[in-house]
């Protein structure tokens, strides 16, 4: 039976844009996390006008809505609240305009991250944020999560690459936050909207900054018999005044899994490897590689492999980026974490991660953005084994706590969503959280836009990491 909500949406949009069949709706119950919810209906917006119409209907019926790009989020940010409207922006996938001279482009939110860089490659520019999901994640999702990626070490995360955003606010009004000019008057509403996890409205057009491609690139793989030496080298390089484009680390279990998968000649007998990329003009790249070699020698590096050509470079990066596919060979399930610690705490926190995993009788692979101190411990398990899921959650919880206790933060790039919502009090006091809640209320007084994410409900403050209502693990 068609509900009044669905009937009204079908009046405002074309009927085929509004789907409420049980099978179709069930496809939108979750994102890439292991949490799920129960939306009432899924709407496929094709324009700003469509998004506005959906949100106006949501207001008429006092029903919540959740914006959704590609659904690759790992923290449950796009998991729909019970009875909500999913606003799918995947069909809003046009690149509207590109200014290669001043290096900016207007795109719709459903444009895929890698598609944008591929389509503008002939202009000598790219969109710098490069999450590992970049083949499938959308620019709108990048904006909602303030996404990162390996190359954000030198160039910054998504927020540094967004000039302006056309948004439909939660009351249905349409406006543009900031602009192509560098110093718009007023508060930095653009900066506030980026990373707001769909709780401040829906982005309908995004003006992105394009980054000049580097004339010279060097990619090197360094291996170590001791993980701590590799981790320490990361700090040495930064303290020496070198900020590589990317510094990634893979530990032995990860190296072995990936090597079996792609046969890139990875150092599988070593404890860890660093993948370092330096970009720039030729003399600068050469001198930085030389200096990194010296610093690495002081940290007992094993072999140093510098990619000889583009093919070898691509192979090394394929190894890094396919780590998550490779682990399926070890166990059928994995839980990926995302915390950040000060770089100098990497050796100590990594040791804790291994200890925690071992105590919970779990395998852990580490493949992460070492340059940023952004850890991604992957707990691999078989959900069919009794007690495995519980052990994974207990270990994950401990890893987050160890990271924050080391002076780190809850999330570096995946966001808070539902997954870490109830851990927010580890980092923020009630007063801090109240300020974030005030900001949310200013954007969305009726709390209709993706409610119940990011901020713990006041009653839940003492009840850390409970499973949110309407979602399950």
């Amino acid at each position: 039976m068609t509900t009044p909500l669905v009937a009204r949406l079908r009046q405002r949009l074309r009927p085929d844009q509004v789907r409420d069949g049980a099978a179709e709706v069930s496809l939108y119950r979750r994102d890439a996390s292991n949490l799920s919810g129960h939306p009432a209906v899924v709407c496929f917006a094709e324009s700003t006008g469509d998004v506005q119409a959906i949100i106006q209907v949501a207001n008429e019926f006092d029903v919540s809505f959740v914006p959704r790009g590609s659904g690759t989020g790992l923290a449950g940010g796009a998991v729909p609240p019970t009875g909500s409207i999913v606003v799918a922006t995947s069909k809003m996938n046009r690149i509207i305009s590109v200014d290669p001279v001043n290096r900016m482009a207007w795109v719709e939110p459903g444009v895929l991250n890698l598609d944008l860089s591929t389509q503008i490659a002939h202009l000598g520019v790219h969109f710098a944020p490069d999450p590992s999901s970049q083949q499938t994640c959308s620019i709108g999702g990048n904006v909602a999560n303030n996404s990162g990626g390996p190359h954000c070490l030198a160039d910054g995360v998504t927020s540094a690459h967004i000039h302006a955003i056309e948004v439909v606010l939660p009351d249905g009004s349409v406006t543009v936050l900031a602009g192509e000019d560098p110093e718009p008057t007023g508060y930095d509403l653009r900066g506030v909207f980026v990373g707001s996890e769909g709780m401040f409205g829906v982005a309908t057009k995004v003006c992105v900054k394009l980054t000049q491609n580097a004339p010279d690139v060097a990619t090197m793989l360094l291996d170590f018999a001791d993980v701590a030496d590799g981790a320490q080298l990361v700090s040495d390089i930064i303290a020496d005044g070198i900020v590589p484009a990317a510094v990634e680390m893979m530990d032995q279990l990860c190296l072995r899994a990936v090597e079996e998968f792609i046969h890139a000649g990875l150092p599988v007998d070593q404890a860890a490897a660093l993948l370092i990329e330096v970009v720039g003009l030729p003399a600068s790249v050469a001198s930085q590689i030389e200096r990194i070699r010296e610093l690495a020698t002081n940290r007992n590096v094993g072999t140093i492999r510098v990619a000889a050509d583009d093919a070898e470079r691509a192979l090394l990066w394929k190894g890094r980026k396919s780590a998550f596919g490779a682990i399926a060979r070890i166990k059928p399930n994995y839980y990926l974490h995302d915390t950040v610690v000060p770089r100098h705490k990497l050796p100590e926190v990594l040791a804790s991660v291994y200890e925690i995993a071992s105590r919970h009788e779990l395998l852990v692979l580490n493949v992460f953005h070492a340059g940023d101190g952004n850890l991604h411990p992957l707990l691999v398990y078989d959900a069919r084994e009794p007690g495995a899921v519980e052990r994974v959650h207990a270990a994950g919880d401990e890893i987050v706590r160890v990271s924050v206790a080391a002076g780190g933060v809850l999330s570096g790039e995946h966001g808070i969503g539902l997954e870490k919502r109830d851990l927010m009090p580890l980092m923020f006091s009630e007063v801090d959280l109240a300020a974030q809640s005030d900001l949310r209320r200013a954007f969305d007084p009726k709390m209709l836009s993706n409610p119940d994410k990011v901020l713990p409900s006041p009653a839940g403050c003492g009840d850390i990491h409970s499973v949110p209502e309407g979602a399950w693990v």
């Binding site: 001043n102 606010l169 707001s196 700090s235 720039g280 101190g373 002076g407 933060v409 209320r441 954007f443």
Partner: protein, 298 residues
Amino acid sequence: MSASAIDRAVESFAAEVGIEGPVTVTGLGSRGGPVPDVRTVVAPSGIDWIQPAEMTIGCGAGTPVEEVEAALAEHGQCLAIPDGGTIGGMLAVGRSGIRRLGWGPVRDTVLQARYVSAKGEVVKAGGPTVKNVSGFDVCRLLVGSQGTLGFLADVILRTRPLPVGERWFTSDRDPWELLGCLYRPTSLLWDGGTTWVLLDGHGDDLVQQAELGDLVAVDGPPPLPPRRWSLPPSELGGLTTHRPGPFVAEIGVGVVHHTQAADEVAVDPTVRALHGRIKHEFDPTGRMNPGVDVLAIV
């Protein structure tokens, strides 16, 4: 300062701000100074710590920019911010320096901020690491907010390596042509005739870039006219024909240093309403820097 000394200084700043009555904050007065005829407070001053391997620094918002830059220089680092005044004033105003093309805007330097709210409470925004997406980005809300939402007490900022070999050049070539052919210049300034280019990097690379762009070495940038405009960078070419008066434009960025005041910008009523709601949530009685309208500031 020790951790407890910083916390005490921040707490005592909060006590000074208090819980009621109009109040304004001042630093060195280099960016307009406090609101006149209102009770004035001063944020804590002093460097708390520098962690070169983290590329971060913690300091009181009242610390002079000069002091911070001098201390960082000893570690071969600096901040992507303009000179002068205090760290807090620089952030509250939110204007970037002429290296923005290469170094990015000042808003991207702030990792964590503690501020005193209108309720007189100490509130923390952001986090201490270079990468962090935990919660909403209240730090960016504060940068450029002119002290109307809260007064910055202390901050953690992201540093960058000092330039290894900065050199200024000029060229008669079209500035957009230079923007296209040079690799990531730190600054590109244009007065309608001459282009000034700031490059940084290895000496051999600079020689090659200078040849590529027909660049001639000079001592430094041109003097900047006092007024400041913000234009889409694609509109800068029209400055010579449509807008009289000497100017220096930041190519690729859109800041124009001009002798005349900028045109008033029409504000979308939706944006104005949103500003009103944010101000109301953060400062319902309008006691923080009363009378300052961030939408009226050009």
